[in-house]
Amino acid sequence: MSLYAVDKVCRRVVIDPAFAAALREDPQGALKAASPPLRDRERELLLAGDVGALGRMGANFFLLHQLGRMELFGLTLALYAERIRAEYAVERERWAQAQRGD
C-alpha cells in the first residue's frame, strides 16, 4: 500500500528547512501537524526511526533514506542502512544465493 503521508514527510525534510527544524525541536508535535495526517502507527514508527518497518509497509525507499541523510529521528545514513538490511535479511540472503548460483 502507499504510505503517501510518510513519503511526504521524507520529501519535506529536504525542501522545507522550517519543517526539518520543527522535527528536531518537537518531533511529535511536528508530525501531528503534518498534512496529510499520518496514521498513529506511521507516526510511532517515524518517531522510533523504524525505517525497516516503514519500508516493509510500503514507504518509498528513495524518499525514506532522506531521514538518514538529514539525521532525523536518531538516524544517520549508516544506521538507516543497518536497519533496512536487518529488516530484509532473509530476502538479502536469498538474493545473494541466487547471485552465487546456489
Binding site: 525507499f61 533514506h65 538490511r85
Partner: protein, 275 residues
C-alpha cells in the same frame, strides 16, 4: 531545419560529480570518462541538448506524476536537490521543446508540459562536469522510471523515435544532441543496497550486458531484455535505462562511437556521432 547530430549516454551519480568538483583522486576514472564525453560532445557542435531523464521526486514528487513530460520554460537552474554541487543558470530551448511537444502529442504520445521547473542532479550534475560553460540550451524530457508503474522499454523507444521525427520536422535551425541520463543497475536506500553503503549495484553483470549491446548496436535486443523483472532485479533506480532507450530510439540502431562501462557503478558512458 533541426537535425540530430549526436547522442550521449551519461551517468549522473551526484557524489561522483561532487568528487570531481573537489578534485578527489577516488573519482579519477570517472573524471577521465566524463572527459571523453566532453570531447565527443564538443565534436558534435550542438546548439541544444535534449535530455531524457527521470525526476528523482524533486519536481513532480508523488503529487501528480506524468509518465512522459517535457519542459518548455525559457530558463531554469539547479541542481535543485544537491546545493553542495556547482549551481547553474541554464537556457531552455523553449521553441524546440514546444515544437517537440506539439508533434509528439499529434502522434498520440501523451507528453505533458511543465512551464516552471528547477533541474535536479540527473541533468546538471553530469553537464556541470562535461559542459560547465552551459553554452548549449537544454530540453528536458522526463520519463517516470522510478515510481511504479513505469512505461515499457518498447514504449520509451517509440517515444524517442517520435521525438526524432519531431526534431526533423521542426523548422528551427538547430544542431541537436539527444542524451539519456542514468544507470542500468542502482539501488538507493532500498533492501538491495550494499553491505557498506545506503546505495548499491544489485546487478553489475546486467550493466555489462547492456554495455555490450550498446557496443554492438543491438538495440532491439536491449529493448527486449529490458523487461520489468530485469529492471526490478537491477535496483530501484534501474528504470533509468528507459532514459537511454528513449535516447536510442532517436536514431537508427548502430554501434556506439564510444562506450565504457563501470561495472561496480552499474552504469556506462557512451556516445554516438551521427548521422
Amino acid at each position: 531545419m533541426a537535425s540530430i547530430v549526436g547522442a550521449l549516454g551519461i551517468p549522473h551519480n551526484p557524489f561522483t560529480a561532487l568528487g570531481i568538483a573537489r578534485g578527489d583522486d577516488a573519482v579519477a576514472e570517472s573524471r577521465q570518462l566524463y572527459g571523453e564525453l566532453e570531447r565527443q560532445l564538443d565534436a558534435m557542435a550542438a546548439d541544444t541538448l535534449v535530455v531524457f531523464t527521470t525526476d528523482h521526486y524533486n519536481l513532480f514528487f508523488e503529487l501528480s506524476v506524468p509518465i512522459f513530460a517535457i519542459g518548455t520554460a525559457q530558463r531554469s537552474s539547479g541542481p535543485s536537490d544537491y546545493p553542495m554541487l556547482p549551481q547553474f543558470e541554464v537556457a531552455i530551448d523553449s521553441e524546440l521543446a514546444t515544437d517537440i511537444q506539439a508533434a509528439v502529442v499529434a502522434e498520440d504520445f501523451d507528453l505533458g508540459r511543465s512551464q516552471e521547473f528547477e533541474l535536479d542532479h540527473t541533468i546538471l550534475a553530469p553537464l556541470g562536469v562535461i559542459a560547465p560553460a552551459m553554452e548549449r540550451s537544454i530540453v528536458p524530457i522526463w520519463i517516470s522510471a522510478s515510481m511504479r508503474p513505469i512505461p515499457s522499454a518498447a514504449r520509451c523507444h517509440a517515444l524517442g523515435a517520435a521525438v526524432a521525427r519531431a526534431i526533423a520536422a521542426s523548422e528551427l535551425e538547430r544542431r541537436v544532441v539527444v542524451a539519456g541520463s542514468g544507470a542500468f543497475s542502482f539501488e538507493v536506500g532500498g533492501p538491495r543496497m550494499s553491505e557498506e553503503s545506503h546505495v548499491g549495484v544489485p546487478a553489475p553483470d546486467w550493466a555489462i550486458r547492456v554495455s555490450e549491446l550498446l557496443a554492438s548496436g543491438d538495440i532491439a535486443q536491449l529493448v527486449a531484455e529490458s523487461t520489468p523483472d530485469q529492471i526490478t532485479e537491477a535496483g530501484n533506480a534501474a528504470g533509468e535505462i528507459l532514459n537511454w532507450i528513449a535516447m536510442l530510439g532517436c536514431f537508427d540502431a548502430r554501434p556506439a562511437s564510444f562506450v565504457q562501462a563501470q561495472r561496480a557503478e552499474g552504469h556506462a558512458y557512451a556516445a554516438w556521432q551521427l548521422p
